[in-house]
Amino acid sequence: MTRVGLLIFGVIATIGFAAIILVGLPRVALFSVTAPPELQPYDPVQQRGRHVYIANGCVYCHSQQIRNAAFTTDVLRGWGDRASVPADYVYDRPHLLGTMRTGPDLINVGVRLPNADWHLIHLYDPRSLVEWSIMPAFPYLFEEKDPEAVGPGDRVVPVRGPRAPAGKVVVATEDALALVEYLLSLRRVYPVPEVESAPGAEGVGPAAGAAGAAAARAPASGPGGRTMP
């Protein structure tokens, strides 16, 4: 090539084309997606909790999406009773779909684990409740106070076990409480109209159908609980 003009044209045309396909068209296609009546916007406390979730990088181990039961086994694992649809995320800014499942999916954690104390203890010391967990402990979201210093507004966390601070009481900070409020708000169990053909739900259509058929067979013929070398 000898012409800079041709290079400029080609370079801009290719990225422009991709941006139209993957950014522009979805803008139009998803414009009409509205929140289901059961889905409430995050209140200020939940929103603050969402910021705590983002600030501490929860998204790097926890996804927030249920894939179609015909495609994979998220539903069978008990993480949700239907595939997630775009309408579930209308109030999410930014999205927290996630790309890793080092920990379990959280899109319905508020249904699965509805107890706020459980979450507070778990955040303070995950291994006091789940022995095999590799989640970081977040003691910096809590204060360790002398029992007599605990005020009337303080939320005391019933921590037990060897890691409980001797002679001290664990009190949740505003951040910890907000984070738990956010986690409890993660409930996407209301019915969405015709999940199977919901506009924009991945895993619909002939290609996914074929994959789904294979997926349905997989658990029976799959590796089961067998330990691989």
Binding site: S84, T99, R101, G103, P219, P223
Partner: protein
């Protein structure tokens, strides 16, 4: 007949523009080009190495925490979620991007037989970029980030500095290109030109604040995949296209394949991003588009692979005396490997298993480390002696660097790929409790920490060597390292090339 040691230009390097000029004139053009880009290139490399060390430490801390979860938990800035994010941002925007700016600033003036125009603007741009990365990383440690993977640095306080700084460097390269002294644009220039146009476009789209819901997810992966494909890969391939012919003194195998590889990458790679959301709640047609484009990547990838391999073929013995070639050729092989792996991973049936597992982490390190970082190391081995007019002081340190990082990345990739598949098979089997999918990862996570420490040790060796070269007592060494290694290629005058 001169022997092609690292520091000499083999007279047969006819693959680059200017072929046919008298040797003295050609050398003179290069010397002037090198002198003009010296300051900005050195600022790029030195700061890039700072970020490399910082990113290595953050990576090691993150890795250790995954199997020692109660390590360093008392402070928020040391938590896994922030250290991992610092690792990614320091490596991508600090180390790789700054080293790429340096390599581009050095290669482009040479290839267009020009001096770097407005070098002070370039240096200022590099400084602005660094300030942006520093602010972004400090805020991440403080718990202030945008929450979007690969775009965590602050949208208003950090990111604009990268666009402005990168733009300043881009302008100097564009002016250098427009006032060029040769007609033909060599393939490396295409890639680097493309990268400097693509990066600001995708970066601004990715950071645009109005997206929400699943659209924000789509834009996230549109950006993040293109940051790999149209920024890191583009400059990385540009450098490979420069250094393989340069060190071997042999032209690139096929001009047509270069064209196919470049335009194929521009067209197909830019559509790949949605394969990160296979199965997710975004319209099926978007994911299918990306899967198709991912598979079509086989065209440019094979074109580039054949082109590089056919240029190398018969000359692999040159790897013995050229550290540049050793790193760059391994990087080129890793590019082919990671691209084929990426295509395969994009397929729905494979993705069902590998999605959400450590497989992805291994894959990304084949790309950013075994491909891009190796190419950048190789480039620095070639460029630095021409910047400071000294040879690398120690063969031993080069060997240590090479073998530490090679063994480190090999252990890293093998360990996480294996446990990734295992974890994935467990995850899609509802009979297996989730606990098991966590326990399965453990040996891989421990092995990855060992690998991470090897990589960090390699980086420390390299930085120490770099420091000795730049700041140490004037080098006693007159000949390049490995000069004594018998070159097989050029010993026979008139012999077959």
């Amino acid at each position: 007949m001169s022997r092609p040691g690292e520091a000499r230009e083999p007279p047969g390097a006819l693959s680059v523009p200017g072929a046919g000029l008298p040797l003295e004139e050609e050398v003179d053009i290069r010397l002037r080009a090198d002198a003009s880009s010296r300051r900005p290139v050195l600022v790029c490399f030195t700061t890039a190495l700072f970020w490399l060390l910082l990113g290595s430490i953050a990576g090691d801390v993150s890795s250790l925490k995954l199997h020692l979860p109660d390590l360093l938990v008392r402070q928020g800035w040391l938590t896994f979620g922030r250290q991992r994010t610092v690792h990614l941002n320091a490596m991508i925007y600090g180390w790789a991007s700054l080293a790429m700016l340096g390599v581009s600033l050095w290669i482009v003036p040479r290839l267009v037989h020009n001096t770097l125009r407005w070098p002070r603007l370039a240096t200022a741009g590099v400084v602005v970029w660094n300030v942006g990365v520093a602010i972004g990383i400090a805020l991440i440690l403080a718990g202030i980030n945008d929450g979007i993977e690969w775009l965590e640095m602050h949208r208003y306080l950090a990111d604009p500095l990268l666009v402005v700084g990168g733009g300043m460097v881009g302008v100097t390269l564009l002016v250098t290109l427009l006032s060029r002294k040769v007609d033909h644009l060599y393939v490396s220039v295409w890639y680097m030109f493309g990268a400097f146009v693509w990066f600001p476009v995708i970066y601004v789209i990715g950071n645009w604040p109005t997206f929400h819901g699943v659209e924000s997810g789509a834009v996230n992966w549109f950006y993040a995949h293109n940051a790999l494909g149209l920024w890191l890969t583009a400059v990385g391939l540009g450098a490979i296209y420069y250094f393989i012919p340069k060190v071997l003194g042999r032209p690139i195998y096929s001009y047509q394949l270069s064209l196919l590889g470049f335009w194929g990458l521009a067209f197909f790679y830019s559509l790949n991003g949605m394969h990160h959301l296979v199965g997710g709640p975004i319209p099926t047609w978007m994911i299918t588009t990306s899967i198709v484009a991912s598979v079509l990547m086989i065209i440019p990838v094979l074109a580039v692979a054949v082109n590089h391999h056919m240029t190398m073929i018969g000359r692999f013995s040159a790897l013995r005396y050229s550290p540049t070639l050793r790193f760059v050729v391994l990087g080129a092989i890793a590019y082919t490997a990671v691209s084929l792996q990426g295509m395969f991973t994009a397929l729905r049936e494979v993705n069902r298993i590998t999605h959400f597992t450590q497989w992805t982490i291994a894959h990304s390190h084949v790309g950013v480390y075994a491909f891009v970082t190796f190419v950048l190391f190789g480039s620095m081995y070639y460029i630095m002696p021409r910047m400071v007019r000294r040879e690398w002081p120690s063969e031993r340190l080069i060997r240590w660097h090479f073998w530490l990082v090679l063994s480190g990345i090999a252990i890293y990739v093998i360990a996480l790929t294996v446990v990734g598949v295992w974890q994935g098979l467990a995850l899609i089997d509802p009979q297996v409790p989730f606990q098991r999918t966590v326990e399965i990862q453990r040996p891989g996570l421990v092995a990855r920490s060992v690998a991470g420490l090897l990589l960090t040790a390699g980086h420390v060796v390299f930085v120490w060597h770099y420091w000795r070269m730049v700041r140490g007592p004037a080098a006693a060494r007159e000949l390049p390292p490995f000069y004594g290694v018998r070159p097989i290629v050029y010993t026979e005058p008139g012999g077959k090339p």
